[in-house]
């Protein structure tokens, strides 16, 4: 991964409370898992989405950045949360609100 790309990811994640790297965009998700992640996040505020299909460098780069093999990838308050499975599980356990509000550091 180039330093420029890493700097871009750092900036995207730092400057938005909720960031979703997804396939497609908020209006036209191109993958069921991405759509589901978006749905789960939207009640908690503005979701900044990055379409990985628009840029092959970003698509591979984000996986290297987090060392996580799949898309979507979710960041909340500057921290990597995980993929859609983890997001769904956190929502089921009622821990998503805490994570967004930042009231609890970890589960």
């Amino acid at each position: 991964m180039t330093p420029e790309l890493k700097a871009r990811f750092d900036e995207e994640i730092r400057s938005h409370k909720i960031v979703l790297f997804m396939k497609g965009n908020a209006l036209f998700p191109q993958c069921g898992f991405s759509a589901r992640a978006l749905q789960l996040l939207q009640p908690y505020g503005q979701v900044h989405t990055v379409d990985v299909l628009a840029d092959a460098e970003v698509r591979q780069g984000i996986k290297d950045y987090t060392n996580w093999p799949t898309i979507p990838q979710i960041f909340i308050n500057g921290e990597f949360v995980g993929g859609s499975d983890i997001l769904m599980e956190l929502a089921e356990r009622g821990e998503l609100a805490e994570l967004v509000s930042g009231k609890k550091a970890e589960g």
Partner: protein
């Protein structure tokens, strides 16, 4: 084709003393789900908990022998709170 028991043994090896249940979700020996309860998860974000488990089967994931492993991870306290299942 993998057996649930082989995956379970790997996870137990990586996380000694944990409780592990592995199910073959499709019956085709490549899609599994695992429930893992371990004290090693305490204080770790879920993504780190999952990485600990994935590390135990990384070679199978890389070769594609294991196509998917859906994870549910809990600390013993969290598991107890869920009640009888």
């Amino acid at each position: 084709m993998l057996k649930a028991e082989r995956i379970r043994e790997r996870i137990l090896g990586a996380l000694p003393g944990s409780e592990v249940q592995v199910n073959d979700t499709t019956g085709t020996g490549d899609h599994f789900e695992a429930y893992v309860v371990s004290t090693a998860f305490a204080g770790k974000p879920m993504v780190q908990q999952h990485k600990l488990v994935y590390a135990a089967v990384q070679d199978w994931l890389q070769t594609g022998e294991l196509h998917a492993l859906a994870l549910k991870t809990y600390t013993p306290e969290q598991w107890k709170k869920l009640g009888p299942r």
